[in-house]
């Protein structure tokens, strides 16, 4: 109760704090090291894309550290100067976007609507429908390739429009395979929205559509953002579906573009590294744009 007994207390607290300080900086150091380790491939790829083509066989990318003058944007300007010619880098980037953006938006919107109905709807068999949807998550995509090609063909012979080889065909395929997981994610998030909120809005005069738009969607934003990021990256990185369903289309996705540069004996590494950098930048931008919501979506429920 006196200053005498307080002082040792304080110094002990100080000691504990300084010990915590040391262990904390050690932790930061370790985390930093892990971060650098993970970034090395990306950094090397970036440096390779910034070095002249001719140097590739002569020295490693790390020689940049001693001779920074070799860095040049020549590779980029060479690829960009082709403009939007079919099969070029810019055209492929545009194709990837034209497929990925609608596929992402459609999956997020449709999954949100389906989840709303599964959680707040009032129809029999909701649980069975949800379980069936969850079951679809485990269906491997490869199983559906041939049946869907056949399906597209019969749609074509019936209506005169065969989605095979078109962007729409690829988008439909991605939406179909994105929905089960999307519905699963959104439904599990919506289940956590207090029923009272929805009932309060109902009493206040909200009909289903208003309820969905004004109450449920804003509250489900973290989950929707997480789903959008997942779906965007998944579709953006897809090679298999594009390879099969864009057959015969002069426009190709970025993954197909990169795939075309690899050959059995030699490869244009300058094109691959530059193209790969372009294909990294866009999903990275999407991730950072949604990161705030995304992280909150992952933490949702854990911290209240």
């Amino acid at each position: 109760m006196t200053g005498l007994s307080l002082e040792p207390e304080l110094s002990r607290a100080g000691r504990i704090r300084s010990r915590m300080h040391i262990s904390r900086s050690a932790l930061n150091l370790a985390l930093g090291a892990v971060g650098v380790l993970w970034l090395v491939p990306t950094i090397s790829l970036a440096l390779i894309s910034l070095r002249p083509e001719g140097l590739f066989d002569q020295s490693g990318w790390w020689s940049v550290l001693t001779a920074p003058a070799q860095l040049t944007l020549h590779n980029y300007s060479a690829l960009f100067s082709q403009g939007f010619a079919a099969g070029g880098l810019l055209d492929s980037t545009l194709t990837s976007l034209v497929i990925t953006v609608p596929a992402t938006l459609l999956v997020t919107a449709l999954a949100s609507l389906a989840a709303y109905s599964l959680v707040f709807g009032n129809w029999r068999g909701r649980d069975v429908a949800f379980l069936a949807t969850v079951g679809l998550i485990v269906v491997p995509l490869q199983v559906a390739l041939i049946p869907v090609v056949e399906l597209y063909r019969s749609v074509g012979s019936l209506t005169g429009y065969n989605p095979f080889g078109t962007f729409i065909g690829v988008i439909i395929f991605h939406v179909g395979f994105g929905l089960p997981f999307g519905i699963f994610l959104m439904r599990n998030f919506y289940v956590g929205i207090p029923r009272d909120l929805v009932e309060a809005a109902r009493i206040e005069g909200a009909r289903e559509w208003t309820l969905f738009r004004r109450v449920v969607v804003p509250l489900g934003l973290p989950a929707a953002a997480a789903l959008a990021v997942f779906q965007f990256i998944w579709v953006w990185n897809d090679l298999l579906v594009a390879l099969i369903f864009l057959g015969g289309n002069p426009h190709q996705t970025l993954t197909l573009f990169l795939f075309d540069q690899t050959r059995s004996l030699a490869a244009d590494y300058w094109i691959i590294s530059t193209g790969a950098m372009v294909s990294i930048v866009i999903p990275l931008g999407v991730f950072f744009a949604f990161q705030r919501h995304f992280v909150r979506g992952l933490l949702a429920g854990a911290v209240k």
């Binding site: 207090p194 009272d196 909120l197 009932e199 309060a200 809005a201 109902r202 009493i203 206040e204 005069g205 909200a206 009909r207 208003t210 004004r214 109450v215 804003p218 509250l219």
Partner: protein, 378 residues
């Protein structure tokens, strides 16, 4: 503003669970009605059926002169305050309050005026731009009230709105709700498990137990003339003492009758004797409230208990005594400057008007069939 009438309101869940069994209740225009009962008694189910949040298995809900059974919740012109407050976390306090009016497409100016008025009434003006996450429990509660207020509904329904507040704030908000009701004069249906809330605020109380309406009446009626043992035990704090006594001289033609139990003796008055005789009971359940027991034998008639003091609790404005008489544990709240000590033998007594007699089998009050209300000492 309008009356609310329930006729044979019944809720049956799958598997034959009767949550509410033919509840009939008339709530007058402007009345403050409390539905009170232990948790799971069906009072919240009743409220939710009035709101339109729960399907009605059988019976009729009338608001004003409209039967609203088939109306959606939004068309019933009522407002509900939830136990959890149910504020929209992504909207500001202003938005929370104006949301309902916006959905009803009211003009901007009217919305702003209504919100401003409610905010002034509830001291929410400095908080209008905050979000619910930035408010304290009491503030959230007031926003929930404000949200109900702005729409000027024909009835307010409240589902345990105070149970998430701490004790001090609860007392304060209780008074605030009572004041609001007086000022607005709107019909109010208030659900609570806390009989003190019901006693302090309600014009009338409906006591519900196991889905059945036990009694409806003013707080005073329920306190003084409980119809059965459940109501007697549920209303009043601390709860009523009950003891089983033998009817000693049931055949004797004297004016009074004597009831006996271990260390407990009761000399009835004429009324009670008459009722006991007509009931033909050999054993009777006697109830007396702790606050009606006094130290010492004060009357010739009435209840006299010889007991041993078990626990003495000093409360400041009185003293609680837990005492043991034969098999029975009793509680007496006495105003004694010199309370007895633990272990003392004491005599506790109460006059006949404060004694309630019940049929031990059915739990029904013996006072009930008599048309004359039990007179009380006032």
């Amino acid at each position: 503003m309008s009356s609310v009438t329930l006729e044979g309101l019944t809720k049956q869940y799958q598997g034959d669970v009767l949550a509410l069994d033919h509840l009939s209740l008339q709530i007058a225009d402007g009345e403050f009605m409390c539905l009170v009962g232990p948790s799971g008694c069906g009072k919240t189910t009743a409220l939710r059926m009035i709101c339109g949040l729960e399907e009605i298995s059988a019976g009729i809900v009338r608001i004003g002169d409209r039967i609203v059974n088939d109306l959606a919740a939004r068309d019933r012109d009522i407002a509900l305050v939830f136990q959890s407050y149910a504020l929209y976390p992504h909207m500001t306090v202003f938005k929370n309050m104006s949301f309902g009016l916006e959905l009803r497409k009211r003009p901007r100016a009217e919305i702003n005026a209504a919100v401003a008025e409610a905010a002034r009434m509830l001291d929410l003006e400095p908080l209008l731009e905050r979000k619910p996450g930035q408010l304290s429990g009491g503030q959230r509660q007031r926003v929930a009230l404000g949200r109900a207020l702005v729409r000027h509904p024909s009835a307010f329904l409240m589902d345990e709105p105070l149970s998430n507040l701490d004790a001090k704030l609860r007392v304060q908000t209780r008074a605030e709700i009572a004041r609001l009701h007086r000022r607005l004069g709107t019909t109010m249906i208030y659900v609570t498990h806390d009989q003190i809330e019901a006693m302090t605020m309600a014009d009338r109380i409906a006591v519900i137990n196991l889905g059945v309406l036990e009694q409806v009446g003013t707080p005073r009626e329920l306190y003084e003339e409980p119809r059965n043992q459940f109501v007697a035990g549920f209303i009043g704090s601390p709860a009523m003492n009950f003891m089983q006594l033998d009817v000693a001289d049931a055949t004797e033609r004297s004016e009074h009758m004597r009831l006996l139990g271990g260390g407990i003796e009761m000399q009835t008055d004429d009324d009670q004797a008459a009722r006991l005789r007509s009931s033909g009971l050999k054993r009777v359940l006697l109830g007396v409230r702790p606050e009606h027991l006094a130290l010492g034998s004060t009357t010739d008639y009435g209840l006299v208990i010889s007991a041993r003091v078990d626990v003495v609790e000093f409360l400041g404005n009185g003293t609680s005594i837990h005492a043991r008489a034969g098999e029975e544990d009793l509680l007496a709240t006495i105003d004694a400057s010199k309370p007895p000590a633990v272990g003392d033998a004491v005599v506790l007594s109460a006059p006949p008007p404060h004694i309630h007699l019940f049929d031990p089998e059915s739990g029904l009050s013996l006072d009930q069939p008599s048309p004359r209300p039990l007179h009380t000492v006032r």
